[in-house]
Point group: C2
C-alpha cells in the first residue's frame, strides 16, 4: 500500500488535477502496465519546454512500468478547417502527417522511452467510421452538455459562432479512448472537458472509465504568461545549448522550483532536499546551473551542457554581468516593438539608428546571445536582459 | 406571362408560404420540367387524408409537367433512435424499408402520376458518406443557427435534452436537396426550417437554391385539431367507402371549402363558382356530396362512390337522420373514454351495461357506421354523431 501511495505521489507530481484518485489507486493495484493515452496535434511539431511537461509525465509513468499511447490526431488534421475560415489550417495530406510523425519521434524520444511508447494515428479507425457511426456517437451527448465547456459557453453567450462540427471533435477524442481502451489520459488543464468525454464514452461502451490527469501550462520566462511560441518567452527544444542554458539561467529564483517540479527527472526527495539547502543559505544559482545542465544534456548532450555552462560563465561571470542592473519598463502600447526602438526607449542607445548600427556590428546581446537580426521584435509581456557593448546592461520589461 | 401567373396561382393554391415567389417565376420561365422534392418517413405508411395534402400538391405540379422526387428518408430510419430512449423507433432493416416503400407506392399512386414520379432513397448516397464528409457538412452551420429552430429553442430554454445528432438530421435533409438538385421542395409548415437548410446547402455548393413551398396541416373533423392518427378525427385512405363518405359528409359547411381547396382536383375556378352558388342559396350539402364522391372515387372507385352515397342516403335521409339533433358535451377529463361510458354520460343509454349490450347487438352507430368494437375509446377533442337504435341521435363533443 505504501508502494501504491508513493506511485500515486509520483503520478500527481506537478499536476493540476487527478480524476479520480481512488480509481487510480485501484488501477495501480491491478499490477499490470496501464495504457496511458496522450493526444498530439498532427501539425508540424516544433516543441518547446512547455510541451515537454506532458512528455515528462508520460516518461515518469513509463519509468513506473506503464505503456504510453502517443496518439496523433490526424483524422481531424486531414479534414483541416472545414469552415474554410482558417486559411492557416489547410488539410494535411497523409504524406505530411507521416513526415510530421517522424519529426515528432525524433523530438519526443529525447524524453520518452521508445520501448514503452506506441505511436498511434486515430485515422486508423476514424477513416473507417461511417456517417451513421458518427451520428450514433453524436447521439450519446446533448447540446446542453457540450455548451458546458468553458470556451463554448463563453462564445455562445458572446454571440460568437460555434460551427456544429466543433461539438463532434470532443466526441471523436473520447471515442479514441474507447478504441485504445485507455486506463489514463493526460492533457493540459484546458483539455479537461475533452478528457472527461473519454470517461463518459468508455462507460457508455461498458468499459472501466479512464482516469484523467491534467497538467498545468509551464509559465514562461516572463513569469506571467504561459510558455508559447507566439510570445517572446519561448525555450524551443531545438534551441542551441547556449541559448537554452542562458534562458534557463534567466528564470527567477522563485519560478525555478516550478520548473524543477515539472521538468526535472530528479526525484521529489532530491528537490525537497535542495529547497531545505536554499532556505539554509545555499545560493539558488547553484541549483539553477544543475537544472540548466540537466535540460541541455537531455536535448543535446552532456558535452554540450559543459560547453554551454563554460560559455555562460565566460560571458556573464567573467565578462562582468552585474549582480544588480537597472530594471526598465518599456511601454509597448500592447504591440510588438522593433528592437532598435526598445533600445532607444530603454535609454541604452541614443537613437534607433545608433542601435541599428551597433546590432550590425554585433555589439548588442539579448539574454546573453548576440542579436543577429535587426528586424527582431519584442512582444508585450517579454522580460529580457539587454547588453550594449561590454558594460551597459538593463533588465527590460515590455509592458 | 399570364400563363406563368396562372401556374404560380396553381402552385400557391392552399399553401402556407412560397419562398421565394420571384425565384419560382424564374424557374417556371425556364420551361423545363422542374425537380420537385418531397420527403417521407421510411416507417410503415398508413396514410390519412392529411398526408394527401402534400401528395395533391405534387400531383398538381405533375399535371403542370414537372417531375416528382418522392424521397424516402431511410438513411436515418435504418439508424433508428440512437439514444435508445425511444423503444418504439427500432432501426429498420433494408428489407422493411423496401416493404414499406412498396406499401407507399400502392397508396400514393392513387394520387400521383407514376410516369412523373421517381421514388428515391437517401441511403443510396448517405450510406457512402464517411464520418469526415459528415463533419464537413456539420461545419457549414453554427450551433446558434440550429437553435433558431422553434422546437430546439423551446427545448433548450426548458432544459429539455437535445441530443447532438438532432442537429445533424436537418443538414442531412438539406444535403439530399444538393444531391437531387431539387428546384422546389414541398413540406409541412413545421418543416420550414429544414426545407430552408436545403436552400442554404445548395448555395454553399454553388447550385441555384431550391424554392420552398409549405403546406398547412389539414384540420380534422373536430374542426380545431390537426388531422392525425393519434386523435379520433382521422380519415384513413384505406377506410371503407362507407366510412369515408360518412366522415366527409360530417365536416362543417365552413370547413368544407378548405377541404376542397386542399384535396379536390377541381379547378380554382370551379370552386370559386360553387362558392358563388352557395352564397346564392344553393345547398352546401350538394357540394359536400360531390366532394365526398370525388374522394371515395379516388381511393376506391366510381362504383364504390355510388354505393357509398346510396348507403348514406338510405341510412341518414330515408332512415330519418334528423336535421337538428341534440348537441351534448361529455367531460373526458383530458383522457380517452370508453364508448359505453360516453353513451351513458351523453344520456343515450341508461347504463354502461345497457350500452355494451346494445353494441354487441349491433344497435349503436358512430358517424353512421356500426360500432363493432365495444373496446373503442373516444379521445378528448373528438366530435362524433352517435345513434342508438333507429331514432335516438346526439352530436357528442368530448371536452
Amino acid at each position: 500500500m505504501t508502494n501504491s501511495q508513493e506511485t500515486l505521489d509520483i503520478i500527481r507530481r506537478g499536476c493540476d488535477e487527478l480524476l479520480v484518485a481512488a480509481e487510480m489507486s485501484h488501477k495501480i493495484a491491478l499490477g499490470r502496465p496501464l495504457r496511458v493515452k496522450a493526444g498530439f496535434d498532427p501539425t508540424a511539431p516544433d516543441l518547446h519546454l512547455g510541451h515537454t511537461v506532458l512528455l515528462n509525465k508520460l516518461r515518469q509513468l513509463q519509468d513506473l512500468g506503464h505503456h504510453a499511447l502517443f496518439l496523433i490526431g490526424d483524422f481531424t488534421g486531414m479534414i483541416g478547417d472545414p469552415t474554410g475560415k482558417n486559411a492557416t489550417r489547410p488539410p494535411l495530406s497523409r504524406q505530411q502527417v507521416l513526415e510530421n510523425a517522424e519529426s515528432y519521434r525524433e523530438q519526443v524520444f529525447k524524453v520518452l522511452d521508445p520501448d514503452k511508447t506506441e505511436v498511434v494515428f486515430n485515422s486508423t479507425w476514424m477513416d473507417k467510421f461511417s456517417a451513421a457511426d458518427l451520428i450514433k456517437l453524436a447521439a450519446t451527448h446533448t447540446v446542453a452538455r457540450m455548451l458546458e465547456r468553458d470556451d463554448f459557453s463563453k462564445r455562445y453567450k458572446n454571440n460568437q459562432p460555434i460551427a456544429i462540427h466543433e461539438f463532434i471533435y470532443p466526441l471523436v477524442q473520447g471515442h479514441d479512448s474507447v478504441v485504445l481502451k485507455a486506463d489514463l489520459e493526460l492533457g493540459g488543464s484546458d483539455q479537461k472537458f475533452n478528457l472527461l468525454m473519454g470517461r463518459e464514452l468508455q462507460k457508455h461502451n461498458g468499459q472501466p472509465p479512464q482516469c484523467v490527469l491534467t497538467m498545468p501550462r509551464l509559465l514562461g520566462l516572463d513569469v506571467v504568461k504561459k510558455m508559447s511560441k507566439c510570445l517572446n518567452n519561448y525555450i524551443g527544444i531545438t534551441d542551441t545549448p547556449q541559448e537554452m542554458f542562458g534562458k534557463l539561467m534567466s528564470i527567477s529564483d522563485h519560478l525555478m522550483w516550478r520548473y524543477l517540479e515539472l521538468l526535472s527527472f530528479k526525484s521529489i526527495k532530491t528537490i525537497a532536499q535542495w529547497r531545505v539547502e536554499v532556505e539554509n543559505e545555499r545560493n539558488p544559482r547553484d541549483i539553477k546551473v544543475r537544472f540548466a545542465r540537466e535540460i541541455v544534456a537531455r536535448f543535446h548532450s552532456r558535452d554540450a551542457a559543459d560547453r554551454a555552462e563554460a560559455d555562460f560563465d565566460a560571458r556573464f561571470r567573467q565578462g562582468g554581468m552585474p549582480e544588480d542592473m537597472p530594471e526598465v519598463q518599456v511601454q509597448s502600447g500592447g504591440k510588438p516593438m522593433a528592437i532598435a526602438q526598445v533600445l532607444k526607449a530603454a535609454g541604452l542607445n541614443a537613437s534607433t539608428s545608433e542601435a541599428t548600427r551597433m546590432i550590425e556590428q554585433g555589439g548588442i546581446r539579448l539574454d546573453g546571445a548576440k542579436i543577429e537580426d535587426k528586424g527582431l521584435y519584442l512582444q508585450p509581456g517579454a522580460k529580457v536582459v539587454l547588453q550594449v557593448g561590454k558594460r551597459k546592461f538593463a533588465r527590460v520589461s515590455m509592458v
